[in-house]
Amino acid sequence: MSWQDFVTISPLVAGILTAAAILVVDLIQPARSAIAVATALIGLGITAALTLIVGLNPASAFDGSYTVDALTTFLDILFISIIAMTIVFGPDYLVPRNLPVAEFATILVFAMTGAMLIAASTDLLVLFLGLELMVLPGYLLAGFHKTDGNSTEGAIKYFLLGSFSSAIFLFGLAFVWGLTGTTRVDEVAGALAAVVAGAAPLSPGLAMGLAFMTTGVAFKVAAVPFHYWTPDAYQGSPTPITGYLSVLPKVGAFALILRLFVEALGPLSDWWLPVMIVLAAATMTLGNLVALTQDNVKRMLAYSSIAHTGYMLVGLAAWAGDPSGRIDGIEALLFYGAAYAFMNLGAFAVVAALQKRTGVTSSLATFAGLGRREPMLGILMTLFLLSLTGIPPTAGFFAKANIIIAAVQAGGPLTILAVIVVLNAAAAAFYYLRVVVYMFMRESATETPALRHGALLWSGLAAATALTILLGFFPSALLEAAGRAAQALVPG
């Protein structure tokens, strides 16, 4: 352990200090949401700056269990932006419901450090630590509205299934450790490469470990058939938290997948590829089919987030299935993660804005006549929904196009997967556009006055909008960053 190690992990430390600072500030100035938000944003800004500075020199710390490379930097910046946006969207919804903003921000920042730890870990145990640090705050957040029965119910479901899946994952991890004798990612990969090369036998235990880990991860990303917790957890949570839950833990779990399946289990990709293909196809198709039948927008977005998981899995499968080992699939996955984060957060922010008045549900009827009542919100929601559908020129379109390019390149069964992606996108258009129908083509049954929204909400929406549009028109910068990140993961 050296001085250099601490420099390497300084962004993580900055994140934890930020969370602590928010708590301290809240102690000194209780219930002043503006101050808490400002503290959080300043802290996150410092964390982001440190991430970028540290990211200039790829390094590893603590005997190679913690690594900073282009992938770490890419994911960390993404996580920080997601958390910053979520915090900005929070107060408008929380304050009218007398929910504490400072605690909300603290928990979020803690979760972020967990995700950052995942992104940087090159040791299976650290990976697990990061995972738990990321999801535990999520359970708290899901039950954040203590007096609301739905919120508590959702939180308990989320907690039970979440800890269950963590246990399964850990179990699989133990098998892998037991049979390879190491928890270090590169050494595991080396041991597995020997197995694949035929130098060492494949034990049934290792196969079982692999199966358990796949199951655990599938739970975390809410892939079909391990998705049952999602809709309840999402619908019960306070809306800004639902937005968060649908983005950060998901992208974080994909970070885990990248570190685990690509880096550690990469040599075995021929074995898990068929599983991933089936998972991806089932996830996007089932997610979309169920989303079609929802008339609650929050629940609809929850199911649609399952479908988006499926699209991202296609990226992973495209990498694994590419005969010439191109990294375009991973690149596409990373790009999709970023695009999805911003457009989905934006959509949830609009839903949250509508629910500013307590007692307003997120049913489709709430959106009736929104285009006339609050044109700006209606237009922004339309933009986010179009992007989620994948209509150009938006971020969501380019994200899907990338996934399809990667899948088409890989060829073989992946081409069929690409066709499934686009058919799903067409089906998704139906339920996304239904919201637009309600907003612009139906009139509200009851006369609802327009709400006043805070400057924080508008600035957050402006950021989400700008990113959704800019990534659609000028995807090159992010594509290159994603390319560098993928390169760091799979030196090709």
Partner: protein
């Protein structure tokens, strides 16, 4: 000064967008004139394009290239050849006409309407000018959103059903086309040592396709995907079912643009992309597509015969007329393709006008049921005369432009397959039948109770309405007498497309299929005639749609 130094194409594409943004910031009271101003400005710019275009120079002109996403070699590349220039001018002309025609009918959310319309214009022009397959796809999808809103917000009673159907049909086709575009690009990249440069560039791809670069498997898969996207847009039988609903529910101007320009997007896609990029697959599937076109021609005409609703009748006539376009494209003869392009332009002008005319009568009566109208000539003589002019044009009266396109398609088809030509010719009689039968029912005879009941509200066509129709009528006459004006412009495109295919032999269609088609056409005519004889009272009450007001 070099003419290519002015980014004229970008100006034409994005002028309506500037207009849309300004309308967004302007107050609602000036939305209409402002939108019209920008539509006219775009029109003038497109006329400059037409004047500056040199028909004798091969290849694309006014080409603009900007690197856009170098990562994948995707460019912002625009360029125009004769076909594109013509279709752009058609688009800009009908856009300002449609905006002008919307002044009175559209009374709610005027700003949003005008913005949608201008954005729609951006997408349509972009599709015709894009020379990068990725950019083409983006413009293609941009078209979808404003049309979705135009039908869904300002449409008729059943608008939401119609607009969702329209979007889903179109989206399924276009998303598969996206896969095909990406697969094509990848095939190119794989053949060039992994370099993406030029993988989306149409001109490069066409040259590569000409050297047989794309494998047969890719050609067939990609062609089928492109075919689906374009066939849905055209629409070809059996992908046409969204069209009658969309047309019936759309506001008048929406129907005009839908028929006059958006259907051409599909036909343009066939000529520009599907055929030159995948020539072998195009030849493989040509017989099947010809048969589908013939079915569309016959089926559209027969269904149009029995439509009780004016707008639906014109919509089905579109299916029939667009069948001539796809027929002309896929017989792969020079006359056939020339005829197809002429038919595209003429159908745009004539059907656009017919929809405007239906809109005129709907404005006054709020009804489109043919059975309720008769004797319009007595109450609105000018309207009846103009309507008659366009009905004859649509029916293919020699001397008017509708005739030339269909005639050339038939000549071209005859060279490739005489039986197919014979079948298509029979349908020209059907076209005359459904049009004249409709015209006779609504224009002549006693003034119906329904129309009499409207009293003073049933005024004759207004000067503004005539202004929207006059340019279309003028062009119909000019192109009818002097089709050479157009043929000169796009002759180069036609030759280049045919050079790409180089059909080896006349196209064979199995004779049982032809016999079946003839039987279908004859049966349709016989059934319709028999029905008319057996039900002589059809004029007074068609019995097709129960009339709630007439049923005392």
């Amino acid at each position: 000064m070099d003419i290519s130094s002015i980014p004229l194409l970008s100006a034409i594409v994005f002028l309506p967008l500037v207009g849309a943004i300004l309308v967004g910031f302007a107050s609602a009271s000036v939305a209409r004139p402002l939108a019209l101003f920008f539509a006219l400005l775009t029109w003038v710019a497109s006329l400059l394009l037409l004047i500056g275009y040199l028909p004798d120079r091969p290849g694309f002109q006014y080409v603009e290239t900007v690197e856009w996403i170098p990562f994948f070699g995707i460019q912002y590349k625009l360029g125009a050849d004769g076909l594109a220039v013509l279709l752009v001018v058609l688009t800009t002309t009908l856009s300002w006409i449609s905006i002008l025609a919307s002044f009175k009918p559209i009374q709610t959310r005027i700003k949003e309407y005008m913005i949608s319309f201008l954005v729609l214009e951006v997408g349509m022009i972009g599709v015709f000018l894009a020379l990068d397959t990725f950019l083409f796809y983006i413009f293609w999808e941009i078209v979808l959103v404003p049309m979705y809103l135009i039908i869904g917000i300002w449409g008729g009673a059943n608008r939401i059903y119609a607009t969702i159907k329209f979007v889903l049909y179109t989206l399924v086709g276009s998303l598969l086309m996206l896969v095909a575009i990406l697969a094509t690009a990848y095939a190119y990249q794989a053949g060039h040592d992994g370099s993406w440069v030029g993988a989306f560039d149409f001109e490069t791809l066409r040259v590569y396709a000409g050297t047989g670069g794309f494998s047969n498997g890719l050609q067939i898969g990609a062609f089928l995907a492109f075919f689906l996207a374009f066939a849905i847009k055209v629409p070809m039988f059996p992908f046409h079912t969204w069209l009658p609903d969309a047309h019936t529910e759309a506001p008048t101007a929406g129907s005009v643009i839908l028929a006059a320009v958006m259907l051409k997007l599909g036909a343009y896609g066939f000529i520009r992309f599907a055929v030159p990029l995948f020539p072998a697959a195009a030849q493989t599937f040509a017989p099947a597509i010809i048969v589908l076109s013939l079915i569309a021609i016959i089926y559209g005409a027969i269904v149009a015969l029995v439509q009780p609703d004016l707008k639906r009748l014109v919509a089905y006539s579109s299916v029939s007329h667009m069948g001539f376009v796809t027929l002309g494209i896929f017989v792969f003869t020079e006359q056939g393709l020339q005829g197809a392009v002429l038919q595209m332009i003429n159908h745009g002008l004539i059907t656009g006008a017919l929809f405007l005319l239906v809109g005129v009568i709907y404005e006054r009566t709020h009804d489109r049921t043919i059975a309720k109208m008769s004797g319009l000539s007595a109450r609105t003589p000018v309207y009846a005369a103009i309507f008659g002019f366009f009905v004859f044009a649509s029916g293919g009266l020699p001397g008017l432009s509708g005739f030339v396109g269909e005639f050339l398609v038939l000549v071209g088809t005859f060279a490739a397959n005489p039986y197919a030509a014979a079948v298509a010719t029979v349908v020209m009689i059907l076209a005359a039948a459904y049009l004249l039968y409709m015209y006779q029912r609504i224009v002549f005879g006693e003034v119906s109770d329904f129309l009499a009941g409207l009293g003073g509200r049933l005024t004759d066509i207004s000067p503004v309405e005539i202004l929207t129709l006059a340019p279309l009528g003028g062009l119909v006459v000019i192109f009818g007498i002097q089709p050479g004006l157009l043929l000169n412009l796009f002759g180069g495109t036609v030759r280049e497309t045919l050079d790409a295919v180089r059909p080896a032999a006349p196209i064979e269609i199995p004779s049982p299929v032809v016999v079946g088609l003839v039987a279908l056409a004859v049966a349709g005519v016989v059934a319709r005639t028999g029905w008319a004889i057996m039900r002589p009272s059809a004029e007074s009450s068609t019995g097709l749609e129960p009339d709630p007001r007439g049923a005392h």
